[in-house]
Symmetry: C2
Subunit: 181 residues, 2 copies
């Protein structure tokens, strides 16, 4: 059911745009009531964003599984690679990335997701930056994770604009190199 609604909604989104598609239209097209839609999804944006909390946990687990002596950049790069694997359909991902361009509310939710990921990943990064275990939250770790996510977003964006031709990992590395030069 969840998947069925998602499929129906995504078709409408790419056809009419995200903002121009109302929840009533989605519900009607999926053959359910408007109320039931909100039973499955907390908001319209959730259809596109999926379960970002679970994905964030996956990234966190991947990050913490990296060797303890690995540098922060190396570790977070490796952790981000699990995202490439977990994203299934390539053309669908391109469609999602395209929706972001003209849907402010969608971008906003995506950025909020990034904020939650920040809090999730910051503790491990803080350790890798040399802080003792159990130290107070350090703004430098937050800034680091936010910057890494910014590089990731820029890489994904450029990958989408290349139509899937460019290598996301390489784009990410280039972005990171620009910061550190």
């Amino acid at each position: 059911m969840h998947a069925e609604i998602t499929r129906t909604a995504m078709a409408l989104f790419v056809a009419n745009g995200f903002d121009a598609t109302t929840v009533d239209q989605i519900a009607a097209a999926a053959g359910i009531s408007r109320r039931s839609f909100f039973h499955y999804f907390g908001s319209k944006e959730d259809v596109v964003l999926g379960d970002t909390d679970a994905l964030g946990e996956t990234v966190r687990a991947a990050l913490e599984a990296r060797p303890a002596d690995e540098s922060a950049w190396q570790a977070i790069r490796a952790a981000f690679l699990v995202l490439a694997e977990s994203q299934g359909d390539l053309t669908e991902q391109l469609a999602v990335a395209h929706l972001y361009h003209d849907a402010p509310s969608l971008r906003a939710r995506h950025l909020e997701k990034n904020l939650r990921w920040q809090e999730l990943l910051a503790p491990d990064i803080q350790r890798r930056l040399g802080a003792p275990a159990g130290a107070a939250p350090d703004p430098r770790a937050r800034a680091f994770v936010a910057a890494a996510l910014a590089c990731l977003d820029a890489a994904v964006d450029a990958w989408q604009e290349s139509g899937g031709a460019a290598d996301p990992a390489e784009l990410f590395d280039q972005a990171v190199a620009a910061l550190r030069a």
Copy 2:
């Protein structure tokens, strides 16, 4: 009038919280109609965020006024310093920063503001990263600006949590150093 509404609304926000304060309450407290509120502000969030576009233009102007041979990090650091001057009341700034913590919609708008700033500042940074004038938009410049804004946000956040005691510029430098180490 603009300022009058802002004062009234901010008082309600700090008293009841941002989400719990309705536009009707603000309008009633300010002695105007609900419709007139939306004549002055496009949204409830705009009351708190102020005119971010104008502020972004100020930063852009400051950035482009820096010497052409200055490095990207040096130039953007200097440009951000004009923000510290343009923010007037210190205690009010602390109150605003506090509102962010429990108002998701507010955070989201703030992040959208950052996105617009990204587009505003990226061209100049791209030049400073070595791209020829008139080149196609480079994701590295976008990533760079986003990372710089992340450092800025982290610095402001840490400054707010210190109660205004810490030096924002120093916090910013520390965040940048963590990225580049």
